[in-house]
């Protein structure tokens, strides 16, 4: 294959699409983006931009026509259209059948069970009344976590139910009910698999959440785990991508519970927020790795050259309107602080407006600088 033959259609033009295009641009790969927002982060550097809804069958079909290779930067797309494009001969990675499993958190959990991947105990329900019935009859114990099977993301569509009095707040849609596991750590391992079946895993990252927004506040890589747990996390993630038979990059989000068990929580079949740091801290970024994987190129080294901390730059509470960035200059003054702005035209509370990756010669040094960035860098309206 010749580099000039590498053209790529991307469903979605958010920050993940944008950073994928930044990686593709190094090889002068032409990238075509479909997104409903004309001012989406990826539009500015895409080779061509198509304005349209990636959830719509006809729109995706039209977008995909004549494109040899297609990928996604968001799961919530018309997989029906991707199945059809695949049938017509397009190369689609991740494959639509993988997306069908991952888009449905119920199917995802069943997949974990079938493949002996460790995961929190769960049951599937179709409605609120069904769950209420199970609680009343004593077959379902509180507390538990309810996750919408489809449509939820970035913490939306997930809730913890602790008391019977709160059952009225249950989502009245098909959902997964999962035992509430006491969590020691939230981890993510990004793995990749190329068209030849070659696999690679990045070092595990540890996520620290903003409790209010239920969004990752910062992540630390490598995670503070002992060698055996690092190895187990890696093996589990590799087992997952092999079981899925998937091509591309896969983020395997895991819990380390209080009992010391590692549980697979959720999958994202694409470059992921927890892998932003790889751009500056690893030999091969997750974005380049995704391109290598889907085009059948050799996977790159996942070794880190520096410990790294990633801080999401979220819209401030109450912020709404045109974004104003604070502390930008001060952060640029710190060596090893890399700022990424996504170019979103509107700030909203907790919206991901950018991120900073902070490198240090030690993790402690990186963490210290990261705290400075967290206090200094703000986006208001």
């Amino acid at each position: 294959m010749q580099p000039r033959d590498l053209e790529l259609g991307i469903l979605g033009g958010g920050q993940l699409g944008k950073m994928l295009i930044q990686a593709a641009s190094r090889w002068h790969m032409r990238c075509h983006v479909l997104d409903p927002a004309a001012d989406c982060p990826a539009a500015d550097i895409a080779s061509t931009f198509t304005h349209g809804t990636f959830r719509d069958y006809e729109t995706v079909l039209r977008f995909g026509e004549g494109k040899r290779q297609i990928t996604i930067e968001i799961e919530d797309v018309s997989t029906e259209a991707l199945h059809e494009l695949q049938a017509q001969g397009a190369i689609v990675h991740p494959a639509p059948d993988v997306l069908d499993i991952i888009k449905d958190k119920g199917a995802q959990k069943q997949f974990f069970k079938e493949h002996n991947l460790p995961t929190a105990t769960f049951r599937l329900f179709d409605s609120r009344s069904e769950i209420e019935g199970a609680v009343r009859s004593g077959k379902l114990k509180l507390p538990f976590v309810q996750k919408l099977r489809t449509g939820g993301y970035d913490g939306r569509g997930v809730q913890i139910v602790r008391k019977t009095a709160n059952l009225g707040a249950l989502f009245d849609e098909p959902s997964v009910i999962e035992e509430l596991v006491p969590i020691q750590k939230e981890l993510s391992v990004i793995v990749a698999r190329n068209t030849h079946g070659e696999v690679a895993a990045y070092p595990a990252v540890e996520m620290v959440f903003n409790p209010r927004a239920n969004l990752v506040e910062y992540l630390v890589c490598p995670a503070s785990l002992d060698e055996a747990m690092h190895r187990l996390a890696e093996v589990t993630a590799l087992k997952t991508i092999k079981a899925l038979n998937m091509v591309g990059v896969l983020a395997v989000e895991m819990f380390l519970d209080d009992a010391g068990d590692l549980l697979v929580n959720e999958l994202a079949p694409r470059p992921h927020n927890s892998g932003h740091h790889t751009i500056e801290s690893c030999i091969t970024s997750q974005y380049e790795q995704h391109l290598r994987a889907i085009f059948g190129l050799p996977l790159g080294s996942t070794a880190m050259h520096s410990p790294a901390v990633m801080v999401n730059l979220l819209g401030a509470e109450g912020a709404s309107g045109s974004p104003v960035y604070h502390g930008w200059n001060e952060c640029l003054r710190k060596p090893g602080v890399y700022l990424h702005l996504y170019g979103k035209q509107e700030v909203r509370p907790f919206r991901k407006m950018g991120h900073a990756t902070i490198l240090g010669s030690t993790l402690d040094e990186a963490l210290e600088k990261a705290k400075f960035v967290q206090y200094t860098l703000k986006v208001t309206a």
Copy 2:
């Protein structure tokens, strides 16, 4: 200043412009490119592309209208138009008066002399007959180097004249005649100066030329110099940018002659081929540094985190037509090899089609991988 206010007009859309946009894209800075080739490397990722000749006064004036800030990726532009845009209130870095000095190798040499910057002895001539006369009268000794005052680049417009019999091949245009200095090493130091007068220097790089094409074949960073010579190279480059009072990134190309003296050879007032490696090997790339400098942001750290070798990917001898890349897969298999393809639609002998930066934990390790890349990576038609 707000990141969203950072818009930039760039004269020239070659690989330097492309990599400048790649850096700007991280901050979601909108970049507008003017180039005579619609399929130039930067066109694909520019926010807007204007098809036109950057040497033409009217074209540059029209391009610059309404743009707050303008820079260049090639010196050979209409500085008359830039003077006019500056007079109209646009921020132009590097300033047109700096470009006027640098575009004329005669003025450059006189500038070195006036500012006590060490440089090879020279005289200026207007025509071939004038030079011949000086040789005949014994006032000018052979061998010498003739450099066209304007219009030469990438080794073109430069020739060594060793014998009286070759005087007929002299360029019959205004030129610099320079003593032929026996050269130990060719070096380049990239320095930056921001609008606040803050300066920074990158570690010196050592260039190895392809003797046939007179183009850099690979460069090695850090250069193999003793500590004192490293320091002298840095001080000389910083003295140069301060003397020029220039804002932006400046490549100061130097010779270390056989006598052990450091001589300034030529300047390039922009990101430079000898700084490509900074993308992967330094905390701040030369491209980001240029943006920081011209927008008055704090300069970034120039520290290297790995020794690096850069290999230009040149069109093969006799190659002419649509490019075919060889050895791409094999090179991607080597950890720490970063390939950049410029996306030029036509290969010509010795045309710069891309480059590879090779990192290693030691310079020897990087050099070994670089040799593999040099033997493996080829572009033919």
